[in-house]
């Protein structure tokens, strides 16, 4: 039995435009997705902002009713038997919200321990164990309003694990954290699967997905466009080459000209300090450096380099399709 199953999962939202002449508009956030997560697996849902990652997670954790399709967690239907699902899952999201700022970190955990029915005798040792795990020991009696973003994030992780859930949903848990804080949270996530937990992680950090996930589904505009191990996804663009050209002030027209070259599979522009870097993915055997430079005629060009594709390139290629 899969730990998480989604079949034809769809979710639309109604929104309105205009003030006097209000018009209802329907937005399709998730357009009928299917995937399965095996028990003990760390599964990544990777996609840009607005791709439908959070909506998918919210349907799975019973906060949203799907417009169509079904979803089961540990074989339990998330709509028909929401309360049973809630007992067996943990949910952690990124950012500073979701904390009672006027309570201490310890009181926050105590409240949620009660909320999740952790037996009274187990609460104290469990909270202390989790404070140790997330590195908040010694600061637990301070009010949460004085915590840094990283500390609040770690408090979220501890809260999500209080009732020792079998399946854990992590929605962009490292967003906005400094590198050290993010590394600590990633180490905690890695330890969850070692403890036999099933984890569904959403992120838009490629290296995070690459480092942590057993399998990844790439979601864009509400649809899953690729699924497999990080190695599988890299292999999708693995036989090509990536050309990176440092440019200064490249316009959209130029980018479109490069995109139109035969053998180019994807083009992206990244901002790096003073310069921009044109990242061009090419198909196997294509040598397009001269053709690319031809398209850039008139622009200031800096360093040119060639490299092997990474998971990020695979992701950009998939999302750009």
């Amino acid at each position: 039995m899969a730990a998480i199953e989604a079949e034809g999962l769809r979710r639309t939202y109604k929104t309105h435009t205009g003030t006097v002449r209000r018009k209802a508009k329907e937005i399709e956030a998730v357009r009928g997705i299917d995937f399965q997560v095996r028990e003990g697996e760390l599964f990544g849902l990777l996609g840009p902002n607005g791709a439908g990652k959070t909506t998918t997670i919210k349907m799975l954790i019973t906060l949203l009713i799907p417009t169509a399709g079904t979803a089961r967690v540990l074989g339990i239907d998330v709509v028909k038997n929401a309360n049973e699902v809630r007992k067996r899952i943990g949910y952690v999201f990124g950012g500073e919200r979701g904390v009672y700022e006027r309570l201490s970190g310890y009181d926050n955990l105590r409240y949620f321990a009660e909320l999740y029915g952790v037996p009274p005798a187990e609460q104290k040792p469990r909270i202390e164990e989790l404070l140790e795990l997330v590195g908040l020991r010694g600061r637990e009696h301070e009010r949460a309003e004085g915590y840094s973003r990283g500390m609040k994030q770690r408090l979220h992780v501890a809260r999500g694990l209080l009732h020792d859930p079998e399946v854990i949903f992590l929605d962009e848990p490292t967003i906005g954290l400094d590198p050290v804080g993010a590394r600590d949270v990633r180490a905690t996530i890695a330890s969850l699967t070692e403890a036999g937990k099933t984890v569904l992680l959403t992120t838009h950090y490629m290296f995070e997905a690459d480092a942590l996930c057993d399998r990844i589904a790439v979601i864009t505009q509400g649809e899953i466009v690729a699924e497999g191990t990080p190695a599988d996804l890299k292999r999708g663009v693995g036989e090509g080459t990536v050309v990176e050209v440092e440019v200064y002030g490249v316009g959209n027209e130029t980018v479109e000209r490069v995109r139109g070259l035969g053998g180019v599979t994807a083009v992206a522009v990244e901002e790096r300090e003073q310069a921009q870097v044109l990242v061009v993915q090419t198909g196997p055997g294509a040598e397009l450096t001269q053709a690319i430079l031809g398209c850039l005629n008139g622009s200031d060009v800096g360093r040119i380099s060639h490299r092997e594709p990474t998971l990020e390139d695979a992701y950009v290629a998939l999302v750009a399709e």
Partner: protein, 256 residues
């Protein structure tokens, strides 16, 4: 037993949060003074000490009611702003049980408001503070707090479904002062208002508090107050699942 423990621990933590809010703190200092002053100036013309006690008790319950009606809505609104509402909904407890300690915490602040208003009246304006049946007075106050918490729960459930409903809390604050006879006897109100007063637990809670303080028979009023409080709770529990399903279907839980 576990549910009772949850209500107790949760009430304690909610109370802690309310006590730590500077905004609520200032309100709790100013409101009783305001209510006691109003009662004194409105009723001093009567010059009878009994009338002044009557008014002082009314003003004290006004404070209790204001604490519940305005704060129940803003408490839910705060949960939306803080992003904790979704976490509460995603927890495996009945949602009305999660909300009840919160409204109970607010009603408990009401006890402080009641005491502070009576003390302000006593020391600032010399309104005598005599309680004929102290034990029954205590029961009446606790019964009124519980009924207010029940009504607050009903409000809070509607605030989950309707984001703007917290405004209703403010809207209900003043009419209840009048309709439930906090300051003016119900006999002075038009006949058509009375059925509305009868279905509102604050009417009976107010009567029970006055009867026990001034020397009467508070028990029937207290029982009616508690009975109506229980009806509010039962109704809130019944509609909670429907309201939550609707909010999940609309996707409005995460909206602020």
């Amino acid at each position: 037993m576990r549910s009772l423990r949850f209500v107790f621990v949760s009430w304690k933590l909610q109370f802690k949060m309310i006590m730590r809010s500077p905004f609520d703190g200032i309100g709790n200092v100013i409101y009783p003074l305001f209510f006691a002053t109003t009662a004194f100036f409105v009723f001093r013309a009567g010059s009878s000490p009994r009338t002044l006690i009557y008014a002082s008790l009314g003003a004290a319950v006004m404070g209790m009611w204001s604490s519940v009606s305005t704060s129940a809505g803003s408490a839910m609104q705060r949960d939306r702003w803080w992003g904790t509402l979704e976490l509460l909904v995603a927890a495996p407890r009945h949602f009305s049980l999660i909300l009840f300690p919160s409204t109970l915490g607010l009603a408990t602040v009401g006890i402080y408001n009641l005491t502070a208003t009576l003390l302000w009246g006593r020391f600032a304006f010399g309104i005598p503070l005599t309680i004929e049946h102290p034990l029954l007075f205590g029961f009446s106050v606790v019964g009124t707090v519980l009924a207010f918490a029940g009504l607050g729960l009903l409000f809070a459930v509607s605030f989950v479904r309707f984001r703007a409903a917290w405004v209703l809390g403010n809207f209900f604050e003043y009419p209840v002062w009048l309709i439930c006879g906090f300051l003016v006897p119900l006999s002075l109100l038009p006949d058509w208002v009375r059925p509305i007063s009868w279905v509102l637990a604050p009417t009976w809670g107010m009567n029970a508090i006055r009867e026990s303080a001034l020397g009467g028979t508070p028990l029937p009023d207290l029982l009616l107050c508690l009975g109506l409080g229980a009806v509010y709770v039962a109704f809130a529990v019944l509609v909670t699942n429907r309201v939550l399903y609707d909010a999940r279907a609309r996707g409005s839980l995460s909206l602020t």
